[in-house]
Structures are given as C-alpha cells and as structure tokens.
Amino acid sequence: MPTDQGPDDVIARYLGGEIGAMNAQLPKARKTLTELLHEEHPRVVCLDGSEHSFKIDELKFLASILDDRERNELLLPMIIEVHSGRSELVVRSRRGVEAKVLARVLDMPVSVEKTGIRIYRSQLGSVRRALKTATQYVFTL
C-alpha cells in the first residue's frame, strides 16, 4: 500500500482554525435595545474586530413590540445556537424577552427552557427574514 508522510500538523491547525473562523463574527459585548436606539449608527464590535451594524427599521420594529423595561433587557444581537447534529436551534435567553420577540415574529407562542428558546429549522427563515441584523449564529459542537 502506498504510504506518505502526510501534512498532519497542517490539517490539525487548519481544522482548529476553521471553528475559530466560524465564530469570529460574535460580538465582543452585546448592547441593549435602548442603547442601540440612541446611537446614530447602531452597531457592535465583533471578536475579529469587524463591525456588525443593525438596521434601524429592525430596531424600530423591536421597540414597537416591547415596553421600556423590556427594551432595557433585550440584548442585541440575539444569539442563535446551532448545535452540530441536532435539528433544532436554540436562541439564548436569560430573561425571556427574546421569547416575546420570537412569539411575535413567528406568530405563535414559544416557551423558554433552561438552555434558551428552542426553534426549528423551518422557523429559522421567518426569524431571519424579520430580524436579519438583530440575530447572529453561533456554531457549537
């Protein structure tokens, strides 16, 4: 059988870097809706140093469905966790404000679990269509 001194380390380094590159777009720190509404050009800085801007229309839509307290609690962008090998996705939620937003977007009640709010891939299109810049993906193992 043919044998070859393969570039093992290169592959290992590449595979490691691939995961890092996938999640490099995550924000360093999230901002509340109230903070973003007061900014002229609402944006957050990502881990790779790039900027993620928010559409003002989306922020206005979110502001229209939330009260003042909820606007202070809602952290943006909302993080959608994509677990490898699972069909459902999880929207991270600590205080449940995200549930109200998603219920409005999906036009159906959603429940908050320990890990977050579970949504299905078929619902992802509607969420992303309504909240293009207000949501971001994170890939986990």
């Binding site: 393969g6 993620h52 269509r129 890939f139």
Partner: protein, 215 residues
Amino acid sequence: MAVKIHVTRPTKIELARLKKRLRLAKRIQKIIKDRLSILVMEFLQTVRESAEVRERLQKEYEEAYKALSLSVGYHGYAQVEQSLMVSSMPFSLHASTRNVAGVTLPTFQMEQDRDSSSWFSPAEDSSLIEYASSAAQRCLSGTVELAELQSALELLGDEINKVKRVNNALEYSVIPGLDATIKYLSMKFEERDREEVARLKYVKLLIEKREAYAY
C-alpha cells in the same frame, strides 16, 4: 479515488493520535455541514428577496419614467431641467457591514436629511414634478436595497463554494485517509500480534522437543 495512507511512525501512540484526529475531523465536518446548510438557507432567502425587490423596482422605475415623461410633456424640458438643476439630494448613504455565519456582508442605509422632507418645494414646482421626484426617490432606495442584496448574494455564493470545498476535502480525502491509515495500522498491529503468537508457539514447541530429548 485512491486514498493515501499517511504514516509517520507505525506505533500505537500514533494510532491513538490518529483516532483522536479522526474524531475531531468528523465533529468539524458536522459543524461545517451545519454552516453550509445555514449559508445555503441564507443564500436562497437572499435570492427570493432579491427577486421581490427587483420586481418591485421594475414597477417603480416604470412609474417614475411615466411620471417624468408626463411632467416633461406638461412643463417642457426646460422647466423640468431647471427644477432638476436647483434640486439637491436631501439624503446620505451610510455603508457598514453585518455578519452572517462568518461572512461579512455590506449593508447600506439611506438616511434622509431632517431639514428637507422632499427634493422639490411644492410652492415652486408642480405636483407632477413632485410626484416624479418622489417616484425617483423610491427607485433610488430600491436600487440601494437591491445593491445590498446582490453583493450579499455574491459573497454568500463565494463562501458556499469555499465551505463546500472544505467539506468535500474532509469527506473525500481527510476522513477516508485517516480511516485507511487507522485500518492499515490496526491490521499491521494485529499481524504483529499473530506473528508474536506464532513465534511463541514455535518457541514453546522447541522447548518441549528439547525437554523430550533430555529425557
């Protein structure tokens, strides 16, 4: 496709290392597949949005050209041109970026100046010109929206190609290569074990024969 076997040292430590790497490669492939499906979903959604905006824009342009030709027909070229010359664009375009599953996409935000609500003053210009101007304004915002979607399409398409290449490399080269190497090493060690057993049996036989002769 022939799979190459990469063996640096045919040792058990190397085998354990390769098994660990295979597990890592399989897990990463799962994530890459997830990312690919997300990117494809975003791409298809952008295609749909782009088609919608394009259709809407076509209607808006038709309307704008109709309104312009009506106002030119009513007022004549000279007056329309004069109105156009004195008008200024009361908006600015803010370009920034957004991230979608690791892809940086451009976003454009049209911002209308707060001081002026329209390009034309209703006192000086007719309603026809005003209507044409507002139709043109709608066309402009639609064009900006379409530009954003088109560039997003291109960038997402490029990224999908890249991710597909990585996925194919893992699926058809790296993982089968690691599998084959692990199989090759396992077979080699099994062969070594069998040889060892045979050797021991032979030695045992020799000892037994020697003991028999001694008696």
